[in-house]
Amino acid sequence: MAAPSTDLPLEYSREELLDSGSYDEPLIAGGVRCHGGFEADGSYRSPRTIHRAPAVQAWQERLRREDCDLIQIDPALMPPQYPNVEQAKLLLLEGVREPVVRRLTIISIVEGFGAIIRDVGVPDLASHVVEPITGTSLDHLEQGLFEAHARDEAGYRDEGGHKQMWEAARDLALENPKIPGDVLMQMMGQGPGRRRERKRGFPQIDERLERMLATMAQVLAVEVFAMGAFDWGERLLSDSEVSAEPEAAGRMVSFIRADESPHVEYLRTGLSEVAARTLRTVDGGSIPGREVVRGMLHSTLRGLTRERREEQRNDIRGALIEAMQVHANPASLLERFDELETKWTPPEHTGFEPEDPEPQA
C-alpha cells in the first residue's frame, strides 16, 4: 500500500473541505435531491471529497513518513448482523416484512444521528498537545472535517444525506412499506438508560479534550462496524427474489458505503496523530497520547462487542417473534429462522489492551 510520496498540501480551508465541486448529473433518490453525483463517465463521486479526500491522504502520508502507526480496528471484532441476510430474506419471502422495514428505518435514523458529531466541542488543541499540530487532520476537525461528516450523514439544507438515501433504498426495494409505529421504541431500547459514564477514564486530561477523543473513538468503531450493515443492506436489497428494484436499491447502498470511507479515514488519522503525540495533563504533567487513545478504543470496543450486542439482539428478537405471528405457522418459521443465525463469539482481544510499561524502542 506504499502510495508514492506526493507533495499534496497539508493545509485546507473550511470551504475547501466542504466543497463538492460540480457534477455532471446529481443524485436523485426517491424524488429527493441527495448529496453526491455522477461524473461524465457515469461513475459516482462522494460529496465534499474533491479536497477532503486528498487532504486525508496527505495527512496519512505524513504519518507514514514520520514512522507513526495508522490505527486499524480488526474487522473480526464486528458482530454479525441480526437478522443476517439469509434470515432477512427468509422473513421477506414468508411475508413477514415488518422486522426488515424496521431495521432499515432504524439504520436510516441512526445514520442521521451521526450529525451529532458537529456538536462535539473541540477544545484549543494546540494548548493541550505538547508537539505542534499544524498540518494535521487534528487541526482541521473544526475546520470542516466534523461539519462535512455531519452533512454526509444527515443531509444539509435541501440536499439529502445518508438518512434520506437509506429511506430511498428501503422504499425502492420494499415498495414504500408502512413504517411500524414502534421503530423509535426499538431504536431507543427498552432497558434502563445507559448511564453516562460517571467515572472518567482519563481524569488527568482536560475534560473537553477527553470527551472529544472518546467520541471520536466511539464513532470510529461505529463507522467500522457499520460496514457490516452496508454489506447486509446491499446484498439484501439487490437480491431480485426479495427486492422490487434490485439494481437501483443496491446501487444506492453502495453510494452510501463509498461516502463512509472518508469518515473512517479521517477519524483514524486524527486518533493516530494524537497517539503519536503527548498530551498535557491538568496538573502540569504529561501523558502519552498513545495510552489515552488505546484506552478509549479498548473500552469502546469491549462495550460494543459484549454488553451492547446481547442487549440489542434480545430486543430485536422479541419484536421479531411478535411480527412472525402474521405467519400461518410461526413456530416452524422461527425454527427455520434460528437455524440460519450466524454463530459468533466476540474475540478475546480488542487489539488495544494496555501495553507494557516499557514500550519497545
Binding site: 444527515a154 431507543m188 432497558g191 453516562r196
Partner: protein, 428 residues
C-alpha cells in the same frame, strides 16, 4: 341552596366576562368616537394585565373549572398574548384548601366506610390543594403510608355548570365581536381534559400503563395504586418521597449530578412521547421528584395522553429537519403532524420555524425546545392565523418547554435529540 350556588356561579362568571369584554371595548369605542387609530398590540398590555387579573381573581374565588380554564389559557401561548399568560400562570400555586370535614365526608361516601375503618391516620392538612382535588397523607390500617387524592364534593356538577356558562359566554361574545378569538375550541379542549382528570379510575389505569412502560428499567418510580381504596373520586396510592426536581442544592447535597438527573428525565420523556406515544403530559415541577439513588418519581397521571400513531416519528422528523435546515422535510413533517394552513401555502411554516430558530445561538434547532423558542414558535403561530395547530402538538410542546424550564433550574440542557441519541448508542 344548590340553586342559589348555581345562580351565583353563573352570575359571577357572566359578570366577569362582561367586565373583561368592556375592558377591551370601551377604550376602542372611545377612540373611534374621538377618531383616533385603534390601540396597537403593545399599548394593549395594561388592558391584558387587568383582564387577566380579573379572571384570576374570579377563578380563585369560584375555583373549579375557572382555575382549569386559566391553566389552559396559560398554556396556549399560540392564542393569547404573553401579558395574559404570565398572570394566569400563577393559578397553579395559589389554590386554597377545602376544609377537612368536607374531605372526610367525601372519602367516607366514596369508600362506603368511616375513615377510621380504612385509615389508621389521616392528616387534616393536605399536602397539596389543586383546582379539582386535594392530596392528604394517611396511613392504612396495616401501617402503610399512603397519599389520598380526593376530589372536591360536587365538583362534577360544578364543572358542568361552569362549562355550560362558559359556552354561553363564548356564544354571546362571538355574536357581538366582529373578529372573535376562537374561544369555543378552548372550552371544548378544556371539557375533554376535565373529563379525563375527573376520572380517577382512568388515572389509575394510566399510572399502571406508565409503570409498565418502565418496568424493565428499575429506575423510574410510579406510585402503586391501592385499587380497593380507590374509586372514580378517591385515589389511594403509595406515598412516595423525594427531592423536588428543581431543588438543585438538595440534589447536589444528595451526591447527584444535576446534569445526570436532567439526562435521565429527558430519557424518560423522549421514551414516553417519541417512542411509546403515551405520556404523562404535565411535567410541572410539583409532579416530579428525584430520589437519593437517582431514581425519578412521576406523579399525577390525570392528564396522560395517547398520541396518534406516527406522531413520535413525525415529531422526530420535524426536529431533525430543523436541525439540518432541510425545508422540504420541514414542510412534510408539519403536514404529517396535522398542521394546516388555511390558504394552502406551506411557506408560512418556514417563516414560523425561521423565527423560532433565530432564537438559537447557531440559527439551527439544536434539540432543545427552550422556553424562548417555544414562546417564539407560538407567538409566530398566533401572528399567522392562517395556521392551525394540532392540539397534541401544543401539549407536547408545552411538556418540552416545561422540561427545558426544569433544565434551566438545574443548569443543564433539555436536549431531546441528545437524549434519543444517547439511548440508541449512535454516538457519544
Amino acid at each position: 341552596m344548590r340553586l342559589f350556588v348555581r345562580a351565583y356561579r353563573s352570575l359571577r362568571i357572566g359578570s366577569t366576562a362582561v367586565a373583561i369584554y368592556l375592558l377591551y371595548k370601551v377604550p376602542a369605542w372611545t377612540r373611534r368616537l374621538l377618531q383616533r387609530p385603534p390601540l396597537g398590540d403593545d399599548e394593549l398590555t395594561p388592558t391584558h394585565q387587568r383582564a387577566a387579573r380579573l379572571l384570576l381573581w374570579t377563578a380563585l374565588g369560584l375555583r373549579g373549572v375557572l382555575i382549569k380554564f386559566c391553566q389552559v389559557v396559560a398554556t396556549r401561548a399560540d392564542v393569547f398574548p404573553p401579558a395574559i399568560i404570565d398572570i394566569l400562570k400563577q393559578c397553579h400555586d395559589a389554590v386554597p384548601a377545602h376544609p377537612f370535614e368536607e374531605i372526610r365526608e367525601q372519602v367516607e361516601r366514596e369508600l362506603g366506610k368511616p375513615l377510621d375503618a380504612v385509615f389508621r391516620e389521616f392528616d387534616r392538612e393536605p399536602i397539596a390543594a389543586a383546582s379539582l382535588a386535594q392530596v392528604h397523607r394517611a396511613v392504612l390500617l396495616h401501617g402503610e403510608p399512603v397519599a389520598v387524592k380526593v376530589q372536591y364534593p360536587d365538583i362534577e356538577r360544578i364543572v358542568h355548570t361552569d362549562l355550560a356558562n362558559m359556552r354561553r359566554v363564548c356564544a354571546v361574545y362571538e355574536f357581538f365581536d366582529p373578529q372573535p378569538i376562537a374561544l369555543l375550541p378552548l372550552v371544548q379542549e378544556l371539557t375533554r381534559h376535565l373529563e379525563l382528570e375527573l376520572d380517577f379510575e382512568r388515572e389509575a389505569d394510566c399510572a399502571d400503563r406508565i409503570r409498565d412502560l418502565f418496568a424493565r428499567d428499575g429506575t423510574v418510580v410510579v406510585p402503586q395504586i391501592h385499587r380497593e381504596w380507590s374509586t372514580r373520586r378517591v385515589l389511594t396510592m403509595e406515598l412516595v418521597g423525594g427531592i423536588k426536581i428543581t431543588e438543585r442544592a438538595r440534589i447536589e447535597a444528595a451526591g447527584l449530578r444535576p446534569t445526570d438527573v436532567m439526562q435521565e428525565l429527558m430519557r424518560i420523556y423522549t421514551r414516553m412521547i417519541l417512542a411509546a406515544g403515551f405520556f404523562q403530559a404535565d411535567p410541572h415541577p410539583g409532579n416530579l421528584f428525584v430520589q437519593e439513588n437517582g431514581h425519578i418519581v412521576l406523579l399525577d397521571f390525570g392528564l396522560s395522553k395517547e398520541l396518534p400513531e406516527g406522531f413520535g416519528l413525525g415529531l422526530f422528523e420535524l426536529m431533525f429537519s430543523m436541525m439540518t435546515l432541510n425545508q422540504s422535510a420541514m414542510v412534510r413533517a408539519f403536514e404529517e403532524l396535522g398542521f394546516e394552513t388555511k390558504n394552502g401555502d406551506p411557506s408560512t411554516f418556514l417563516l414560523i420555524t425561521e423565527r423560532m430558530m433565530k432564537r438559537s445561538d447557531t440559527g439551527r434547532f439544536e434539540g432543545e425546545f427552550t422556553e424562548e423558542m417555544t414562546d417564539e414558535l407560538f407567538d409566530a403561530i398566533r401572528e399567522n392565523p392562517v395556521v392551525s395547530v394540532p392540539s397534541d402538538f401544543v401539549l407536547v410542546g408545552r411538556a418540552f418547554s416545561l422540561l427545558s424550564g426544569i433544565g434551566a433550574s438545574l443548569g443543564a440542557r433539555a436536549n431531546v435529540l441528545e437524549a434519543m441519541g444517547a439511548s440508541t448508542g449512535a454516538t457519544s
